[in-house]
C-alpha cells in the first residue's frame, strides 16, 4: 500500500520511494527514506495535503507525492 492510503494516527514503515531523483533527494533531506517509520498527523479538509511525523520532524506533503511512497502498516 502507499502512504496516502493510511488514516490519521496510523503508523507505517517505508519500503520504497518511487519517484524522480529530485523529489527523492528532497524527501531524503527531510529524513524520509526506506526503513523509516512515519505517522499520519492530519489531513486537510479537501484531502489534498497531509501532515506526517518522521522522527522529530513534521512534514507536509501533497497526496500526489504521498502516493509515490510505498509503506507497510505496522
Amino acid at each position: 500500500m502507499t502512504l496516502n492510503q493510511l488514516k490519521i494516527n496510523e503508523s507505517a514503515t517505508i519500503t520504497s520511494i518511487n519517484c524522480d531523483e529530485i523529489l527523492k533527494d528532497r524527501l531524503y533531506s527531510f529524513g524520509i527514506s526506506k526503513g523509516i517509520k512515519v505517522t499520519i498527523v492530519e489531513f486537510t479538509l479537501t484531502k489534498s495535503t497531509i501532515e506526517i511525523k518522521v522522527n522529530q520532524s513534521k512534514i507536509a506533503l501533497r497526496l500526489n507525492e504521498a502516493a509515490k511512497i510505498e509503506v507497510t502498516r505496522d
Partner: protein, 711 residues
Amino acid sequence: MKLQKLRLLVIKNTIKIALVGQPNVGKSMLINSISNARLKVGNFSGVTVSKEQVFFDYKNFHIEIVDLPGAYSLNDYTIEEKVTKDFLNNEKYDIILNVLDSTNLQRNLLLTAELLTLDKKMIIALNMSDEAEKESILIDEIQLSKILGKPCIKTSAAKKSGITKLLDEILLKFQSQKVPSKFFFSAVIEEEIENISRVLEENKYETTETYRQISLGLLKENKNIYKQFHDEPIWIKIQPILTEAFEHLFIHFNSKNIKDIFNEERFAFAKGAAIETVKQKSTNAATLTERFDAILIHKFFGLPIFLFFMWGLFQLTFTIGNIPMEIIDSFFAAIIDHTKEFLGDNEFSSIIADGAISGVGSVVLFLPNIVILFFGIALLETTGYMSRVAFLLDGFFHKFGLHGKSFIPLVTGFGCSVPAYMAARTLKNERDRLLTLFIIGFMSCGARLPIYVLFVGAFFSESNAGNILFLIYISGAIFGLIAAKVLKIVVFKSEDEPFVMEMPKYRLPSFRLIYHTVSNQAKMYLKKAGTYILAASLLIWFASNYPKHLEIEHSYNEKIELAINPDEKINLKNELSQYNLEHSYLGYIGKYSEPLFQPLGFDWKMTIALETGLAAKEIVISTLSILYGLGSENNESSSSLMEKIKSNITIESAISFIVFVMIYLPCLAASMVFVRESGNWKYLAYLFIFTTISAWLLSFVAYNISKFIVT
C-alpha cells in the same frame, strides 16, 4: 617593508566563517548572539536570496561570518540551497560553522554528513540546547565530537550560553593544523575504496587530490574524475577493479542506483551517530506544538482562525498605519511650502518641491503601513505559523496552479505591491515564484482605492458604493486566480512542483530578530523605492512641464492681468495649465495613443491619466483633476471633481476605466521591485504586455456589456 608586514598580520588575523545549517535551527539568532551589539550587517546579494555578512573583533582577531541561507541539504532544489552550495564549493573561507538543532539531531546530521565530504575545517554548534534540556534530550557532545572528528559545542542562542566557548573554539581551530575529515562508510564501501586506492598507489598515480578522494569519486560516478582518467593508461588497470566493486555494492545494497546507495550510507551514518549520542526519555505526552496544531490546523477551525488573523493584520495595517500617515503628509506639505518660499517661484523651486519632494514624500507616506505589514509577516514566519497556513491553503491554491505559500504575497498585495513582490521570496521554486509575481498586481493595492472611491462615488448611490468597492476587490482577486490558471497552462507549464515542506516547531520569536528584519526591510524600502520614485517624479515633472510655449503663456498672463473678476482669473489660469499640459510631452503622448484606447471609451485625458498612473496610482487622480480643469488642489473627496467626472465621462467609460485600473501595472516603484525580485528585465516586459492586454480585453468586455445594459 613595515607596511607589508602589517598587512600580512592583518590578513593572518582575519577569520572567515561560513555559517551553515538547516532552516529553523536558530542560525540568525545565533549570529545575533555571537556578534552582539557590535553587529555590522552588509547585504551582498545572490540571485534573489541574499547571504548576510557580519564583522566583529574578538581577542585580536577579526572575525567575518557569512550567514548562508538555510539548506536541508546541498542540492539545487531551492535557491537557498543553490546559493549555499555554490558558496561552499567556490568561495574562500577558513572554517565551516555548522549549526544543528539539538532537538532534531538525526535529521540535522544528514547535512553534517554532506559537509564532512567537503573536507574543510569545521565546528559543530549544537544549538537550542536549552530546549533539548527541557524536552529531556541528553546529548553526549564529547562522543559526537569523536564520531564526527570535529569539535561539538552546546549552545543556546536564546539563553546566550556556550557563545564564548564557541568563539574560543573558532580561534583554536583557526590556529591549528587542518586534519583530514573522516567520514567512515560501511565496511563494504571502505573495502572497495581501499582496493582502488591500492591500484593508484602501485602505479604511483600523480595527483593533487588524495587517493581516497579519487577512489570515492570513481565509486560515486563523478563525471569529472572519469574524464580525468579517460586518456590515462592506468584506466585499463582500474576499470576491472571498479566493475567488480560496483557488482559487490549492487549485491550488498540490493540496488543498482549508486546515488541511493550513498544516500543510504549517509543516512546510516546520521542515524548511527544519533543513536550513539542521544538519550531521550520517551514520553507520550503531546508537545506544546502538537497541542497548538490540534487547533490551528484543525480541519474545520484552521481556515477561519487564519482568516481572523489576516483580518486583524489588515485592521492594524490600515487603522494604526493611518495615524502617522497624516503627520507625514502634513510634514511633507510643510517642507514643500517652505522650499517654495525659500527658493521663490521659479523652475528650480518647482522641480525640487513639486517634483522631487512630493514624489519622495508619496512613498514615505506608506512607510507605517509597510512596517506594520512586515512586522506581521515576520511574526508569521518566525513563529512557524506560516507553514501551517501554506498547508491549509495548498489544496485550494493548487487548483489554480499556485503554491500554498503564494498566499502571503497575494494577501500583502491588497496593501501594496512593493512589499508583496518582496514577500514572494518565501516561495522556493523559481516558476512558482514568477507565477505569483505575475498575478500580485491583480490584488488591488491601497493606492488604487482613491480612484475607485472617486469613480464609484460619481456614478453609484451612496448606499451601493461599499458593495461596489467590495465587488471590485473580490473580482480583482478572482481575475488573478483565473490569470494564474491561464499562465500555468500556457506559459509556466511544467510539472507540478512537489509540495514537501517542514512544519517547524512553534517558537516564540526573539524581539531583536524581528526588529532587525523589520527595520532592514523598512530601510530597503526607503532606499530602493525612494531612489526610483525620485527619478520617476523628476521625469514626470519634466514631461508635464515641457516643452514651454512662451508666447501663449505670455498672452494668457496678459489676459489674467487684465481680468477683473477673480473667477475669470482662475478660469484663465486653468485654461493656461490645460493648454500647457495638452501641449507638453505628456500631452503629445496622450493624444498620440488615444486611438488605442478609443474602443474602451476613453478620451485622451483618461488616456494620459492611465499613462501617468504607470508611475503611481495617486497621480491618476491629480492628472484627471488638472485635465478636467480644476487645478491640482482637489482630491477624491471633492464633490466638484466628482461632478466634473460625472458630466464629462459616461458610466460605461467609467466602468471600463475602473476595470483597466484594477489590472494594469501597479506603479513604477513596484515595477522596479518586480525586476529585482524576478531577476530579469525581460520579465517586466512580459508583465507589462500581459497585464496591459488583459486589462484592455477585460475593459473592452466591461465597456460593451455596460453599454448594452445602459442603452
